[in-house]
């Protein structure tokens, strides 16, 4: 080997080692950061904050099924006890009375600070009388148990009021065996809140494993044969979806590589050729990952999943080199001179197409763009400068001349079928125009890996637990904690009329759990001093069956508040109230946020404009998280379509510069355009709505297909049999690789697989059909 040949080899090995080192040290993530726009609006930032580390993402719903009611209840208690000691969980609730004593005590001690009914009027003689009469009515009623027990200390019924407000929060879970259960009683239910954010998939996985281990441990203590554990929640789904994607990518990659390797082994009849042929793929993949890790700091799962698809184009380069060498009069240098310019143009075409994605505001797509551009460049450079040097001196792959001859006869017959291309295009165009309104999926859930059954199960558990889906939020900002709480109280007053009108069913607010200091002080000031209260009670109780002397407990409690007892955030720590507060009162860069989730009326959705109008001037922001997420996704989609269009324009410009003839450019572009249009129509006809991933698939069709079209164009429409054989082989590997991907159970992988497998097959067929006339005319 000459020094001239050693230099590229050394550079390749060094680059490969460096890329491998960078890839090995890179941070990989499957979290939602791929969806956070680079320059988010305040609403988008809130949306992603909520999805990433909001309360919704931290909630884990746990169900225990099978066995009998008593064993399920025992398991629920054992599981809750174990998880309460686990630092990975901030809060565990299973409905058992033991867990709620602290909350009740806290509410009772601070009832005069928490109850919105506490006003100076209520503690006037008339107000006291009215409140006590009402409480006596409650004592007389069938629901009077609690009111009766508390009567001497809480004659105005503040506890009943606070309890009623919590009831108004929506249906409470049913109980079976003293713990929460589903409506039908067949499942025991627990609600957990993880300490880690929902988007921290590793931590969520650890929490998931902690629950599983604690359940196994509990099951060993409680004899409950057949009892099973099931979990849902955003974090759980993230963990499952990551595992599913990993599993599917591994399966698909293994199967794809095995099938492609088998095909190449059949074609080459040489294990050396097979091994060498996969080197461009390896090089491209590693360099792509390293480039993304360097450029973005973190590699997203979507990008890695796409890694397998690089095989589609990178494996072609070696095929062209190996199979076409014979056509170039047997010498590699001749091949380089004759065919390399065409391949180089194909590579540049692909790179420019994918480079458009680099401009995307959607980090997931931008990563894909960088990955493809750098990966393809590396694979092509390797094939051009290193691979020829690696080939043994007597390297020879099997002659594919008989295949080539047959293909040449087929191609010669193609002109008769040329009309097929415009005919198919016309049908496809009509179909696409007819469906143009519903062609693209504008819903973020179109990218979800969740099955309908899983979604339904999650919905059932949520309904049984009365867990809000937290779709609607009002966000009030403040400079500090107190400022945010006061803002929340103002928003609460603005929302109250909407509740009365039935426009919203209700709302939650951090000020419910922790009223602002100002509100607490105002409520405390509503309570008269003990001597005065005693005098007022004496007058208020005239004619009632209750004596003021029985109410010394009440007077003492009121005196404590009057003297300065206040509720502090620290008092709530470790209780359900504290957990609720933590999810609604958040510290953010530059201040505090108070979140007020709204509950939609029974009738369905909330009328956003009316809520916005009610909030006018308050500075608070109304968010429909689902609409916001869909809008974000739709924005990405529109941007991606625009970028892809720009990419196509750039590709045409490149071809124009390279080929210097509009008709030559037309002969390259026509089969590609036709392939994309017919593929899109076929997908739509199969009932698929197109997503971002289909769009990426189309780009890949153009990238891979441009090589085919360029070879046909270079040969004036009639490539030599060997070249035809190399194209057929290259296309077969692509169709196999992506066809396998089309069998994946993850919708996003299936989308890319089906698009590219069909699209590249059509691109080759159309290139053959369209170029023939030109070639035969020569």
């Amino acid at each position: 080997m000459t020094r001239q040949r050693l230099a590229p080899l050394g550079a390749w090995l060094a680059a490969l080692a460096l890329a491998a080192a960078v890839a090995a040290g890179a941070r990989y993530t499957a979290d939602l950061s791929a969806f956070l726009p680079r320059a988010p609006s305040p609403a988008q930032q809130l949306l992603v904050d909520q999805l990433r580390d909001g309360a919704v993402g931290r909630v884990m719903l746990i169900a225990i099924e099978g066995a009998d009611v008593a064993s399920r209840a025992a398991l629920s208690r054992e599981l809750a006890a174990r998880l309460r000691d686990d630092a990975r969980f901030a809060y565990i609730a299973n409905g058992a009375a033991r867990g709620t004593e602290r909350e009740r005590k806290l509410l009772f001690e601070h009832r005069y600070l928490l109850s919105p009914a506490v006003t100076p009027e209520r503690f006037s003689v008339g107000g006291l009388r009215e409140a006590i009469e009402e409480t006596l009515d409650l004592v007389a009623s069938s629901a009077g148990g609690l009111a009766q027990a508390l009567l001497p200390r809480d004659p105005t019924g503040e506890m009943a009021r606070l309890a009623a407000r919590r009831l108004a929060e929506g249906p409470r879970p049913a109980l079976a065996g003293g713990v929460w259960a589903s409506r039908d009683g067949e499942r025991a239910l627990l609600l957990a809140r993880t300490a880690a954010a929902g988007a921290d998939t590793d931590a969520q996985e650890a929490a998931l494993q902690a629950v599983t281990a604690a359940f196994a441990d509990a099951a060993a203590n409680v004899r409950a044969p057949g009892a099973q554990l099931r979990m849902t929640g955003a974090g759980v789904f993230a963990v499952q979806s990551r595992a599913l994607i990993k599993r599917e990518v591994a399966r698909v990659a293994l199967l794809g590589v095995a099938l492609v390797a088998a095909l190449l082994l059949w074609a080459y009849r040489s294990a050396t050729a097979l091994a060498l042929g996969l080197l461009p793929v390896l090089t491209g993949g590693l360099v792509g990952v390293a480039a993304v890790a360097t450029g973005f700091g973190v590699v997203h799962g979507i990008t890695l999943g796409f890694g397998a698809t690089l095989i589609g184009e990178a494996v072609d380069y070696a095929i062209y080199l190996f199979v076409q060498t014979g056509a170039a009069r047997g010498s590699r240098d001749a091949w380089l001179a004759e065919f390399w310019p065409t391949i180089r143009l194909g590579v540049l075409t692909s790179m420019i197409g994918f480079a458009a994605l680099l401009l995307s505001g959607f980090p997931g797509l931008a990563q894909l763009g960088l990955y493809s551009v750098s990966g393809l460049a590396a694979a092509a450079l390797f094939t051009r400068f290193v691979l020829p040097a690696l080939l043994p001196a007597a390297f020879q792959v099997r002659e594919l001349s008989s295949l080539g001859a047959r293909l040449a006869r087929l191609r010669a017959a193609a002109p008769r079928w040329r009309w097929l291309v415009p005919a198919l295009c016309a049908v496809a165009a009509v179909a696409l125009i007819a469906q143009r309104g519903s062609l693209w999926a504008t819903d973020l859930s179109s990218l979800s890996t969740l099955s309908d059954a899983e979604q339904a199960y999650d919905g059932r558990l949520r309904a049984d637990l009365g867990a809000a889906d937290a779709r609607y939020l009002v966000v009030a900002a403040g400079d500090d904690e107190q400022d945010a709480l006061r803002a929340a109280e103002r928003v609460g007053r603005a929302l109250q009329p909407l509740v009365a009108q039935g426009l919203i069913a209700g709302f939650d607010s951090p000020a419910r759990y922790l009223p602002s200091d100002a509100t607490q002080a105002a409520r405390a000031a509503s309570l008269p001093a003990p001597r005065e209260l005693r005098a007022r009670l004496g007058r208020a109780l005239r004619g009632l069956p209750l004596r003021a002397a029985r109410l010394e407990g009440f007077i003492a409690d009121a005196a404590e508040v009057h003297a300065g007892l206040r509720l502090r955030r620290a008092d709530l720590e470790g209780t359900a109230l504290g957990v609720a507060l933590d999810s609604l009162l958040l510290r953010r860069a530059g201040g505090w946020h108070a979140l007020l989730p709204l509950r939609a009326p029974q009738a369905g959705a909330i009328d956003a404009p009316q809520v916005r109008e009610a909030l006018l001037g308050s500075g608070a922001l109304f968010l429909d998280l689902k609409a916001e997420a869909n809008a974000l996704y739709a924005g990405y989609l529109h941007e991606a379509i625009a970028l892809a269009t720009a990419g196509v324009a750039a590709v045409l410009l490149l071809l124009m510069v390279a080929l210097r003839s509009a008709s030559r450019v037309g002969r390259v572009a026509a089969p590609l355009g036709a392939a994309v249009v017919v593929t899109a129509a076929a997908l739509a006809a199969a009932g698929q709505t197109l997503t971002l991933l289909h769009l990426v698939g189309f780009l890949l069709v153009v990238a891979v297909g441009s090589n085919y079209a360029l070879f046909f164009e270079r040969a004036g429409g009639a490539p030599e049999p060997r070249v035809l054989a190399s194209l057929a082989l290259a296309n077969a590997t692509t169709v196999i690789g992506f066809g396998v991907l089309a069998t994946a159970s993850v919708p996003v992988l299936r989308a890319i697989g089906a698009t590219v497998a069909l699209g590249t097959l059509l691109a080759l067929a159309f290139a053959a059909l369209l170029s023939s006339a030109h070639g035969d005319a020569r």
Partner: protein, 191 residues
């Protein structure tokens, strides 16, 4: 004089004959209830509470539909509807709606079963929770229910249901804390 003594002799004989034919037993009392598919009554409830000087009075209507639906509709002083159906207890009071699954609340279930079990004539259901004692005659009987379970006994010392044939006239509940509830019932024609 003769006529009068004759009449009393006939009456005595009839009474003896009736007694001999079927002695007054728990079985017969509950059979009588079991045959009533539907019944309606007005009630006045007096609740004696320790801290109060006078009992609290409320009134309304009771309705039973076999096999397991019992409604207590309070009209005064404040409208309220308590409904027991199957294993579910619902309470509607003003804006509030409370729903309780009795399978998860043995105490509430026991209390609910005392009246419903009697009206349904379901001896097994009653005896699962209470020790039963029947006193008096068919025309004036009293059934006392004492909880078997200690936890329940801490809440309810005993329930006494008194009546006339297959009709209840009084339900008296003595609570564990010494408070008491007296429910006076007046049958209404079935709807």
């Amino acid at each position: 004089m003769r006529a009068k003594s004759l009449a009393s002799a006939v009456l005595l004989a009839w009474a003896l004959a009736a007694g001999a034919a079927a002695p007054w037993t728990l079985e017969r009392l509950l059979q009588g209830f079991a045959q009533t598919r539907e019944s309606r009554a007005s009630f006045v409830e007096k609740k004696s509470v320790g801290v109060l000087e006078r009992p609290l009075v409320s009134s309304g209507e009771l309705r039973f539909e076999a096999p397991d639906r019992l409604e207590k509709r309070t009209l005064r002083p404040r409208p309220e509807l308590l409904r027991l159906e199957g294993d579910t207890l619902t309470l509607e009071r003003g804006e509030r709606r409370l729903r309780l699954d009795l399978r998860g609340n043995p105490e509430a279930a026991a209390l609910a079963e005392s009246i419903r079990g009697t009206l349904a004539g379901d001896r097994a259901a009653l005896e699962r929770v209470y020790r039963l004692r029947l006193e008096g005659t068919e025309r004036d009987w009293a059934l006392t229910l004492v909880p078997r379970d200690a936890a329940l006994a801490a809440l309810v010392k005993r329930i006494r249901i008194a009546g006339h044939r297959a009709g209840i006239s009084v339900v008296e509940i003595l609570h564990g804390n010494g408070d008491g509830t007296l429910l006076s019932v007046q049958p209404l024609p079935a709807p």
